[in-house]
Subunit: 227 residues, 2 copies
Amino acid sequence: MPSTMPPLPADALVVGLAVDVAAFAIHDGELRVLLVQRGEGPHLRAWALPGGLVHPGEELAEASLRVLHDETSMDLEPRHLEQLHTFAEVGRDPRGRVVSVAHLAVLPHGTVAVQGGNEVLGAEWLSAHNPPPLAFDHADILAHALARLQVRLEYANLALEFLPEAFTLPELQGVYEAILNRQLDKRNFRKKLLAQGVLTPSGERRSGVGRPAQLYRRAKHARTAAL
Amino acid sequence: MPSTMPPLPADALVVGLAVDVAAFAIHDGELRVLLVQRGEGPHLRAWALPGGLVHPGEELAEASLRVLHDETSMDLEPRHLEQLHTFAEVGRDPRGRVVSVAHLAVLPHGTVAVQGGNEVLGAEWLSAHNPPPLAFDHADILAHALARLQVRLEYANLALEFLPEAFTLPELQGVYEAILNRQLDKRNFRKKLLAQGVLTPSGERRSGVGRPAQLYRRAKHARTAAL
DNA sequence: CCAAAAGTGTTATTTCTACACCCATGT
DNA sequence: ACATGGGTGTAGAAATAACACTTTTGG
């Protein structure tokens, strides 16, 4: 394939290319989504998903990571990042045609402190199941992301990405419950998870109170995702 | 929200926005995908998914339908059209940064004849499970589309979109088998489908040979899709 | 009456769900 | 000793998978 090709045809539609990121984490046993308060442009002071324009030569995944970094002033390192859906409706952004590729990110436990960054008044982890009103079509994006997260629990072992490398089964169950937004039976949960063979036990651990829980790690062979 | 807003910032990355469409239909009991032979640009004469640049003010779905129409010279009317994935890798198109939003389309039975259209040497329905080599990253797109189609069989009753309004259970089973690329048990298939309650019987019908089969239609209440 | 495709039931296996008590530790 | 959370088994229900013969039509 030649390296110099004719440029794009003159009738090529040019648009702004952006990413928006629905980044999830578990805090206090609750599923939270990272939201920022807009500091400029339309929907000033409204809550929104972190997002922004893609730079030239930048891949979508890179842009997503950069945006997270810039708008939270934190070195967030998602354990999982996948594309969700592309929102390209003609009127979705009042500034012109902006095509936004929405992403789903999963951050591990321990990702707590965030603060506002560039062009943003503040950043916070807020309830994913009961979010505040959001700017643009971000409520749609969040709903998509939540639905995707739930179906991914079955297929991939995405829940592990919310936890540190070593974790207990009750902690893992807590992740499932936070994402599915309902209680699960302890015995059935353990049976199912252990039967999958994706967990391997290690040493022990004493939590604050009660009987110490067995620690587990992900087994060697673990699918990352599919679909 | 004001109707006149500042234009996009000067640092906005502008890109070409395109759609590619993986359009499926069943022919001769086999799952086929609509492919065109490129008549210009890179990958001349290679097989590719129908696709092209989005026009200004045009929605992605509109562009997908237009592209199908233009490149087959046929008034194809998909029964189902959904967004699949956005391919935006920096080097994927040698002409510059082109972001392509891939779509999955389902065409009903009877959609047979296609011919080449604008900028295309020819169009054909070819085997979806054993396609010829494809231009650009279209083999990836096709693989994604096929996987999505298979999971959609479970959730939605997408199989109905491949058939005319009235159809027999053996025909429906044939659609499942063509998509899943394996044989299914007749009795179990009937049990499961009828238990779902999405089919309602109507009159009879005599095929060429053998016992006539009961005709069914979709019941009133039918989910179209999800996820 | 023969070929061809449609239609129909039962059983074994697996998976899912509901449910209550004992165990190990820290205080 | 007691409060706290971790850990375990069983039985009924539901879903799934395997399997072979009869029925209706056209020729």
